[in-house]
């Protein structure tokens, strides 16, 4: 088991290999379809981004509404493939890590190799456990998108598996 403190560095990414089991701690940013569309638009127009992309890790998730004293309710991964058209643009602009589930496009795999970035698979179906790993949450932007708004999650020992590494290997093959 590998323990990583975020933000990711180029060095840390190079040491990861498809199939590795990893516990992530630190800040990640949430976003899915609608939020990605806006981020790519913001990059294109040069307007303010909701969070600094440099070395960032983005989590594809649409959580349940918060309940009780938890920072967030169930928040397991959503299917990553839908973010394939957007991910390469974010990676070119500094994003270092993706968290989601299932395979992504060839373009994403190539961008990960070219820019030394990594794709982690979270475990689909473990939403409650992931909520327990989130110690703090804050809405950063696009509040109108509801569950799809961009949030900063501070996580502790968030369990993932390296799905695509920066060396071109995949856990799905």
């Amino acid at each position: 088991m590998i323990k990583i403190t975020l933000p990711l560095t180029e060095e840390a990414v190079k040491n990861l290999h498809a199939g590795d089991r990893v516990l992530l701690s630190g800040d990640i940013y949430t976003g899915r379809d609608a939020a990605h569309k806006r981020i790519v638009e913001a990059i294109r127009c040069g307007t303010t981004l909701p969070f600094p992309l440099q070395n960032s890790t983005v989590y594809y998730v649409g959580a349940c509404p918060p309940k009780g004293d938890l920072a967030t309710a169930s928040c397991g991964p959503t299917t990553s493939f839908r973010m394939s058209p957007y991910a390469p643009t974010l990676i070119k602009n500094g994003q270092r890590g993706i968290i989601g589930k299932g395979s992504m496009s060839e373009e994403v795999r190539n961008a990960l190799i070219e820019h030394t970035a990594v794709y982690f698979a979270a475990i689909g179906g473990a939403g409650g456990l992931y909520a327990q790993c989130v110690t703090d949450a804050e809405i950063l932007a696009y509040e109108d998108l509801g569950t799809e708004a961009i949030r900063r999650f501070t996580v502790k020992d968030f369990p993932v598996v390296v799905a695509y590494d920066c060396h071109g290997k995949s856990v799905y093959e």
Partner: protein, 279 residues
């Protein structure tokens, strides 16, 4: 005539919803535990351990096991001697869904297919109602997530395709679904009927507890054979490889037309959720 106030029905439904969304069905949990023991891939075994930890945590703390708390699907068997009083049956079911999803902080995932505008209360529910003999009401609730529901397949085979055709159809559906329905999956297969009945049978097959036998003796062998073939596919838990793509395959058969052999495949993801009550 036995009178049942709809307010009683509503309370029961609300509890059933909260229960189903916050626990993995015990039979599925047991199957997952057993599968983990013999898992060959380290990444897959890790994923399965995370799922087991998630299930026990969620049951303890009454948290939704998955953030996709699904569309609300109900199966009602209503005794013909029952008279519901004090309102409108379908409206009561939908009120129970709206209230329980809001009160338990479950995700509202239902919207209009054209405008894509969310109904904001997870209604309408999907109702399957049968009138049966007696004065009881048997209710089954299943919150169906769509990572797996989107992988549903219907094959209108020719009679000449036979059992081999049925097997091929099931394997094709699972292979095409790959890692998308959050494996390890639980596979419901409907064989026979009309097209819509066939898919309904496939879903109902998922309600039979894992580890129990098919009421048709000859179908047990077919279920076991299909499970073995599916687990030889290079998918595995979460798509990480290994030998646990599915936990079980259940088949439900029904007479069909002389010219037909319908096969429906409904996939249930690893978080197998349903609750049952008799009034």
């Amino acid at each position: 005539m036995r009178e049942i106030p709809l307010s009683d029905l509503k309370q029961t439904l609300k509890q059933m919803i909260a229960k189903a969304c916050t626990r993995v069905r015990p039979d599925a949990l047991c199957a997952l535990q057993n599968a983990k023991q013999s898992e060959t891939s380290e990444s897959a075994a890790f994923a399965m351990q995370v799922l087991l930890d998630n299930a026990s945590l969620c049951e303890q703390k009454a948290l939704p096991v998955c953030q996709d708390t699904g569309m609300a699907v109900f199966f009602f068997e209503i005794g013909q001697e029952v008279h519901f009083t004090g309102g409108d049956f379908e409206k009561t079911v939908n009120e129970a869904v709206a209230e329980s999803y809001a009160e338990n902080a479950l995700r509202m995932s239902v919207l209009d297919p054209f405008t894509r505008i969310n109904t904001k209360n997870n209604t309408p529910a999907v109702l399957h109602v049968r009138l049966v003999a007696g004065d009881r009401v048997k209710i089954t609730f299943m919150p169906k997530g769509f990572g797996s529901e989107n992988m549903t397949r219907l094959f209108m085979l020719m009679p000449a395709d036979g059992i081999e055709g049925v097997k091929k159809a099931v394997i094709t559906a699972i292979r095409d679904a790959g890692s998308k329905p959050c494996p390890p999956v639980f596979v419901g297969v409907g064989v026979g009927g009309t097209s819509e009945l066939c898919l309904s049978l496939a879903k109902e097959a998922l309600l039979r507890p894992i580890g129990t036998r098919n009421e048709r003796e000859e179908l047990n062998a077919l279920e076991a054979e299909l499970l073995q073939e599916i687990n030889a596919l290079p998918i595995g838990a979460q798509g990480f490889g290994g030998n646990t793509t599915a936990l079980a395959v259940h088949i439900k058969a029904h007479p069909t037309h002389i010219t037909a052999l319908p096969v429906g495949v409904n996939i249930q993801c690893n978080c197998v959720r349903s609750s049952e009550e008799v009034l």
